[in-house]
Symmetry: C2
Subunit: 321 residues, 2 copies
């Protein structure tokens, strides 16, 4: 018995795979290595319970062939579908990016599962499916769902396709909606940007925007823990759960200050203008994880603690890298 993970070489994939291996579960993974890397999987690949094959899963025939090969070794009992575009601005300027990497990956994953008779699917969705609801708390059954980025749109399209599949061949689906996740291996995001900028210009950190943009942050270790909790405990056929920090979040200015403190104490911070990151970025939102808490899971770190931990880890990653 083994679990298949798509997008395994990415940030969440690597952490999820490690957690499953730690439980003694056999893991097979695929990734096109367009954003994920072999280096991210260095530790995983030392584990005899781990298999990896490079394939672009939107190449449906090649993907199915790889999965059939995995299944010949050990039956695949469920799939965790994480493969997606992670560069949201890229998808805003060109809708084809999220069409292929965020939605078509889901379509072909469902097609593969139907053909191979895999009936359980866990899916990494996003808070971006909600769109901009202003100050209204985002609970799982809020509507209407009007995403403002192609990334959010194609995550919602994926949820919809999974929901339809659950009416026909899927026995159960777990859909996790989460906002900003941080930690290592960091491949993108504001913290990595700051650390790298400071490496380049150690005396001054230039911040795009005025630093007042505020978001809740979840550490990837908490995310994985919550996903596995939902997988183990949620009773619904279509289990839909927000995962996130409970607090109001921290500002970009706090992240900048924390990065400077850890990486380059004394560096000056210079701010730009405006508090909106890019087209398609919801500037501020209130996230509810009450449903998840009722299921028995609570975050151990708040946004401040998650940022502090991640900044330390990313600075270390970049010093060693």
């Amino acid at each position: 018995m083994s679990i298949l993970i798509t997008g395994i070489a990415g940030f969440v994939g690597v952490n999820l795979a490690q957690a499953l291996l730690n439980k003694g579960i056999r893991v097979c993974g695929v990734d096109n290595l367009s954003r994920g890397t072999l280096q991210n999987m260095a530790t995983l690949r030392e584990n005899p319970l781990f298999s990896f094959t490079q394939v672009d899963i939107t190449d449906s025939e090649a993907f199915i062939k790889v999965c059939e090969e995995f299944a010949q070794q050990e039956p695949i009992t469920e799939c965790w579908h994480l493969a997606a575009n992670s560069d949201i601005p890229a998808g805003v300027s060109n809708a084809a990016v999220d069409l292929k990497d965020t939605f078509m990956t889901t379509h072909v994953t469902l097609d593969m599962m139907k053909k191979l008779g895999i009936t359980k699917l866990a899916f990494a969705s996003s808070s971006a499916i909600y769109g901009d609801h202003g100050t209204t708390t985002l609970v799982e059954d809020i509507g209407p769902l009007l995403p403002i980025s192609n990334y959010g749109a194609m995550k919602l399209a994926s949820e919809a396709a999974i929901s339809a599949a659950t009416e026909s061949f899927l026995e159960q689906a777990w859909i996790f909606r989460f906002p900003n996740v941080i930690g290592i291996p960091a491949t993108h995001g504001v913290m990595l940007d700051f650390v790298r900028k400071l490496k380049h210009t150690p005396d001054c950190l230039q911040v795009l925007g005025n630093g007042t943009q505020q978001k809740g942050y979840l550490h990837v270790e908490e995310l994985v823990d919550a996903m596995l909790w939902i997988r183990a405990h949620a009773p619904e056929k279509r289990a839909l759960y927000n995962i996130g920090a409970e607090d109001d979040g921290v500002t970009v200015a706090f992240i900048a200050e924390e990065t400077v403190r850890v990486a380059q104490s004394g560096a000056r911070i210079e701010y730009g203008q405006g508090n909106r990151g890019w087209v398609g970025d919801v500037p501020r939102f209130v996230y509810s994880i009450d449903k998840l808490k009722k299921l028995g899971w609570n975050p151990k770190l708040n946004s401040t603690q998650a940022v502090q931990k991640a900044v330390r880890q990313i600075v270390e990653q970049e010093q060693n890298g």
Copy 2:
């Protein structure tokens, strides 16, 4: 100035085009004629304000070329995107059908509009995006959205992509969610099935299911009227409106009896078992059009009247056809 309609040769397209032409508006239309027909457009094509080119709009290059040719004659000021799969069971058994015909048509339409600088879009969505909410009244902002057919999933995916586009290049989008629409030219649906069955076996109408399945029905003339009303009056950048009958609907048995009465008086009706049409069909739902009524539009026919009118029209269509 002209309006572009995709899927113009289909049931709704033909009725919409006629209504626009009646207002003296120039209409250019595209259709791949996979389900729509030239015959449906016979009257439209006599109008000098009407242009039609056959093209499969998922062939993006060919589609853009056709639109550029239309635009050279008269600038296109808005697009009404109606092209979609209309065979819901076909899409349930093969997800590729709705992927291409219901969602990719939307993706390429948005791409075309971005390239040609067309900033206003009206879109024919569906009540299928809601999924099965049991007896809860379906209002526009209900959640979660968990469609149970690939048709519903790909309509929701389309709404999501349009919503994201409205954040970047689209100035305004009108999204119409409607359930069962009836009238002529009928190309599919229970009434046409019944009329054709009766033509084949005039003494007996065999009904799949036990006839108790109940749905609200909207006549296509009312649908077009409501869509144009919303287009003219809705103030929202993303205008999302249910359109439908207000009543509890009528049963399949009523439709069978009405069809027999009009087409083949005295024929026996034989029922099968079960009250669910097919996988992906929501058996019964309560639809709210309060938002539309607040905007000032009210249906003139209830479901019973709409069915009576459509049955008469379809019987006549089939006698002449």
